[in-house]
Amino acid sequence: MSAVATSWRLGNPAVEEAPAADVPSPARHLRPVITDRVPPFGAAQSDVPPARRLAGRVLARPSLPSLVGLLLVVAVFAVQDLDLLGWGGLATVLDTAAMLGIGGVAVALLLIAGQFDLSIGILALASSLVTALLIGHADWDVWPALLASLAASVAVGLVNGFLVVSTGLPSFLVTLATFLVLQGSALAGTNALAGSGRVGGLDDEPGWSSAAAVFGATHQIGDGRFRISLLWWLGLTALGAWALWRTRFGNAVLASGGARRAARELGVPVRGTTVALFCLTAAAGWLIGTLGLIRLGGVQATTPGLGTAVDFIVVAVIGGCLLTGGYGSVVGASLGALLYAVTREGIVLAGWDARWSQSLLGVLLLLALLANGEVRRRLKAVPRS
């Protein structure tokens, strides 16, 4: 041990170097250092009591703030004795949450990989307009039209992804540009082709009934009409959570956002993962658009504004995704969507001005950001040395 200590002190210029004759062979005095004996500076055993450690782990879960927020909001509206917890209210809330959650889950994965997508809301509208025009004006069958608009959406995702990975521009700006291009061309194109901003009367086209079974089925329980979007949402959430924590793809997503350079150096396909995630959000936008299109039997080309895209990001951030990437939760994003939906529908049911929900959401977002910072700090508790 003393030989070891002597040898390591050589790093200090102030100490006289021990002549090599002191130790019979350098190999001999170095050997003890690399045995499996506990090293003098090795990992210190944690003496934190198990309960504290459990609490620490729970507090470090990114989805915690959204769960607490959800319980709080539900409690507030339950006290008001609203219809919110009846079948009717539940169906409304879950439907709103499903539409938000489908986008939220995809955006959460993208945020975890350290990227933004503002174009998902407009893609929902644009893809449903493409589907509607293909069915209503080009007389396509429903299924080919749906597949074509899905392909077009994924193509937009590919463009977004390739622009981001090849130029290194912030994805916020790239997708803002995509958003503007899509918004302009979707609205103007629909007007030029259809003569008006509305394409409707699609529900007697061939293939509509089977498409309606997949994207528009409903189930009546009590006075609540539950839509199939709920199943899509739950399915996507389960799949997303599984993929994030249990597959190599998920590990690549986490690493792309958490240590991009390191991941690249280790051979993680960072670029491919990023492009794939942009395609995923684009496909999620298409799904949202299709669910709406089938439900209404038509589509109205309105200006959605940036609000819808920001909603998805808000939902993901409330769910515990760090804006800086590297950590987050898919289940949390779904809880965030539920929180958002309860807030919005609760305020409507309580008879307040619906615009209050925006303010409340802003407060929730701020709280979520603060909570996420705390989670991040707990995770990162780096010892100084």
Binding site: E17, A27, F41, G42, L254, A255, A259
Partner: protein, 277 residues
């Protein structure tokens, strides 16, 4: 554990694992590395020393596959190589320990350990990470480089600084690397950190890896290294063994370019075989 190698000059020459022949890397018109000749042998620690801008970082980039060389050749076990990506270099058996530690701070230790090469089970649509195997292998590999009792589920940021480098070295050993490129952080390291790190590097040498260590600390280099490659202006300014120099001389060599070239000239005159390398 294999026996530590003898360090006296009479030892039989070790197998050359990586050879650089007239290796040149240009950034625009500037030669970051100019016709560099060097040999890195298995079971030896070669310390690369030099001032900032002497080409150390470029050498690491070429060896690790981040940068392709423009001229000359890089031989790995006699085979000429030209890496297109870090992944290729890693597949060929050259592992790199980066100064930024190549660690995603929020991910757990085992996720970091297996990053880019995760063990899986099941067939494709259901192919998933083999969590138990990954955790187990992480704990065992970390124990091998002298960091016992790691909690594989703790975030990597909970590791001590030296342990993070050990993680990278354990990773290299686990994936059967033949060569280990260590680019030391430029920030000064504490004693604890260097102890852990040195332990891991020596463990890797014990496994017969060729180790290329880029360092700024000549005393530490002299303590741990078998050979010293001095770089200046992208060229070899000196190629010394442990018997040629002591720590003070190495420090002096690091300190100034002039002294360095004089000494190299003297040494080459004394040992004509040095010039051939």
């Amino acid at each position: 554990m294999s026996t530590a190698p003898p360090r006296d000059g009479a030892a039989p020459a070790r197998r050359a694992l990586i050879e650089l022949r007239r290796l040149t890397v240009r950034y625009g018109n500037v030669d970051a590395l100019a016709r560099l000749n060097a040999t890195f042998r298995a079971g030896e620690i070669t310390c690369v020393l030099g001032e900032n801008g002497s080409g150390k970082t470029t050498l690491v980039a070429v060896l690790s596959g981040l940068r392709r060389h423009d001229d000359g050749s890089l031989l790995l076990d006699g085979e000429p190589m030209r890496f297109r990506s870090p992944r290729q270099a890693r597949a060929a058996g050259i592992a790199t320990v980066w100064p930024d530690l190549a660690v995603a701070p929020l991910l757990s230790v085992w996720r970091n350990f297996f990053l880019g090469a995760e063990p899986t089970r099941g067939v494709w649509p259901l192919r998933r990470l083999d969590l138990d195997r990954a955790r187990d292998a992480t704990v065992r590999a970390m124990a091998r480089v002298g960091v016992p009792d790691v909690d594989p589920d703790a975030p990597a940021s909970a590791l001590q600084a030296g342990e993070r480098q050990s993680l990278a070295i354990a990773r290299a050993l686990h994936f059967g690397a033949r060569a280990l490129i260590v680019d030391e952080p430029t920030t000064p390291m504490t004693m604890a950190r260097q102890t852990l790190f040195g332990q891991a590097v020596l463990a890797a040498r014990g496994q017969g890896l060729a180790i290329v260590m880029v360092t700024n600390n000549p005393r530490y280099a002299h303590l741990i290294g078998d050979r010293f490659l001095l770089l200046a202006g992208g060229q070899v300014a000196g190629n010394l063994t442990r018997d040629d120099v002591d720590a003070d001389m190495l420090t002096a060599l690091m300190a100034g370019g002039e002294e360095l070239s004089t000494l190299t000239a003297t040494l080459t005159a004394l040992h004509p075989e040095l010039g051939e390398r």
